[in-house]
């Protein structure tokens, strides 16, 4: 099968004058211009109009606290390790209580972040989530490195279906279990 010869249709005289087809075409475009016959504008006028984001949308990664307002992150650095563009930098720190550890510094460089969601995926404490925030801008590079406070503030704001605020009280359970066995872990 080398090639198929497509037979051209013989054009009518009206068609060959161009006038009729062009007029037909112009009627079509006129319809779109005036939004007749079921045509409608598809442009979304951002920022007045915004997308309704799908549930799985991955915006900026943010940090969340548990229902008791404690930092969930224990600075295990798994996210720092898994992050492909190395956007996260953590300096772990020691805290009182049964959890022992929380980040002293937790920076995400939003200019580096590629919103892959690996950090959310890898986090063993469900402390980091991909929020719905996609309007990230700043005037300097330094401004785009989001520190811990800012990430927690963003986490407060973007609770999605309560998912990011779910009451994981791992350490409450630990403490009460230990208490039942006569051991005080809170000191």
């Amino acid at each position: 099968m080398a090639y198929v010869k497509v037979k051209r249709r013989k054009l009518t005289f009206a068609e060959r004058t161009y006038v009729a087809p062009i007029a037909k075409g112009m009627v079509t475009t006129l319809k779109h211009m005036l939004q007749l016959g079921g045509t409608e504008r598809v442009t979304m006028e951002y920022p007045e109009q915004k997308w309704k984001l799908p549930d799985r949308y991955r915006g900026a990664p943010v940090l969340v606290k548990d229902a008791a307002g404690r930092e969930k992150c224990v600075s295990c650095s798994m996210c720092e390790y898994v992050c492909p563009p190395r956007a996260i930098s953590i300096i772990p720190g020691e805290i009182d209580g049964p959890v022992e550890k929380a980040p002293k510094v937790f920076d995400i460089d939003m200019l580096r972040c590629i919103f892959c969601g690996y950090c959310e995926e890898v986090c063993p404490e469900e402390a980091i989530f991909m929020s719905e925030e996609y309007e990230l801008c700043g005037q300097t590079r330094a401004e785009m490195v989001f520190p811990k406070d800012k990430l927690y503030a963003m986490g407060e704001k973007f609770g999605r279906d309560g998912r990011t605020k779910d009451p994981v009280k791992k350490y409450d359970r630990l403490v009460s279990e230990a208490a039942a066995q006569g051991l005080d872990l809170t000191k």
Binding site: G25, T28, H32, M33, T39
Partner: protein, 359 residues
């Protein structure tokens, strides 16, 4: 006050006023036109178009102008400088000069020449130099092809343009554009008697007396102004940007401006020749008592017709795909030229027959 009004009555004074009026209406029209082009294109494509700068985005063109002014003006190293710099200027000046002889209102023309329409053709044919020069001086293959295409295309269609318009002058018996307009506002002359009233005045427009001529003129006008479907000199899908590929910043903007000014000029000419110019079935004399208002009103009528034409041109552009170059030449030489000659002969015969009859 009177002194001022009187000064306006003097030849110098009236000339100044005319220049001011025409010189302002045209750039405003052009800026409006650019906006219209983009809005209409958007609407046809179910989009919104520029709507941020000013009400409905009407000031978009001025924002664009500012942008063009502040853009880096690149002067490629391999160009023929004098020619390269001359081309954008040549693109703007002819259409503006051509506009000088087009009557915007009764007596509102900068130069009322006996040879009016010839002047228009003369000037507009200079426009081809801009394209050919720009293309050649750029020393780039795309630009050169664009320039060569432009010269061939413009020369081919100028012929049809002139022949189509001749019919009008046969009927009018004058080359003065002012006469052409007034001739269309008289009412129909049947049986040697003048009929007045709305319908006779409406059908006095040359477009009814010269339908085929008007169609040919309009098509040729599209080709003359490089508008789609005849925008081959700058066919972006084939030639990058055609003859102005190597131009940037304000120089590019000048080509742009020239193209749109040419559209305004040719639409003005079409209005004058076929659509009764500033007249509107007698309504043009509504404010006969106050000359200033009368003039403004007539300019508005004229502008309205021109805008309608411009809209149609834009509408066509976003509807009809570009011609192939051989199709373009085929259409110009093998169809429109014979038809326009035939139409001319027919018009001549009809005019002669009518004159016999009326006498």
């Amino acid at each position: 006050m009177d002194a001022v009004m009187n000064w306006f009555g003097t030849p110098v004074g009236s000339a100044v006023v005319k220049v001011l009026v025409v010189g302002n209406v045209v750039p405003l029209l052009v800026s409006f036109l650019v906006w219209l082009e983009r809005r209409v294109a958007a609407w046809i494509q179910d989009r919104t178009g520029p709507n941020r700068v000013g009400p409905f985005g009407l000031l978009q063109s001025f924002a664009d102008l500012l942008k063009f002014i502040f853009k880096e003006d690149v002067l490629p190293g391999h160009v023929n400088k004098p020619m390269y710099l001359l081309a954008p200027a040549l693109a703007v000046i002819p259409p503006l000069v051509a506009l000088a002889v087009i009557p915007f209102a009764d007596r509102m023309m900068i130069a009322d020449l006996d040879t009016g329409v010839l002047a228009v053709f003369a000037f507009s044919s200079i426009g081809v130099y801009a394209l050919a020069l720009g293309g050649w001086a750029s020393n780039s293959k795309y630009a050169l092809i664009g320039g060569v295409r432009a010269s061939a295309q413009l020369i081919s269609y100028e012929l049809v343009l002139g022949l189509a318009a001749l019919g009008v002058f046969m009927i009018t018996g004058s080359l003065r554009l002012h006469d052409v307009v007034t001739d269309q506002a008289n009412g129909l002359l049947i049986d040697g008697t003048l009929r007045d009233g709305f319908l006779p005045k409406f059908f006095d427009w040359n477009i009814w007396k010269q339908p085929l001529g008007a169609l040919l003129f309009f098509i040729a006008a599209l080709a003359e102004t490089n508008r789609a479907p005849f925008d081959l000199p700058e066919a972006e899908s084939e030639l990058a940007a055609g003859y102005h590929t190597e131009y940037s910043s304000m120089k590019f903007a000048l080509f742009f401006l020239g193209e749109y000014a040419a559209m305004v000029a040719i639409s003005g000419l079409f209005t004058t020749l076929y659509l009764g110019g500033w007249t509107l079935f007698g309504a043009e004399n509504l404010f006969a008592g106050t000359p200033a208002l009368q003039t403004a009103w007539q300019i508005a009528i004229f502008t309205g017709k021109v805008v309608f034409l411009l809209f149609t041109i834009i509408w066509i552009r976003w509807t009809v795909p570009r011609f192939r170059y051989d199709q373009l030449m085929d259409l110009g030489w093998k169809r429109m030229l014979p038809i326009s000659i035939g139409w001319l002969v027919f018009t001549a015969l009809a005019t002669w027959a009518y004159a016999q009859h009326v006498r």
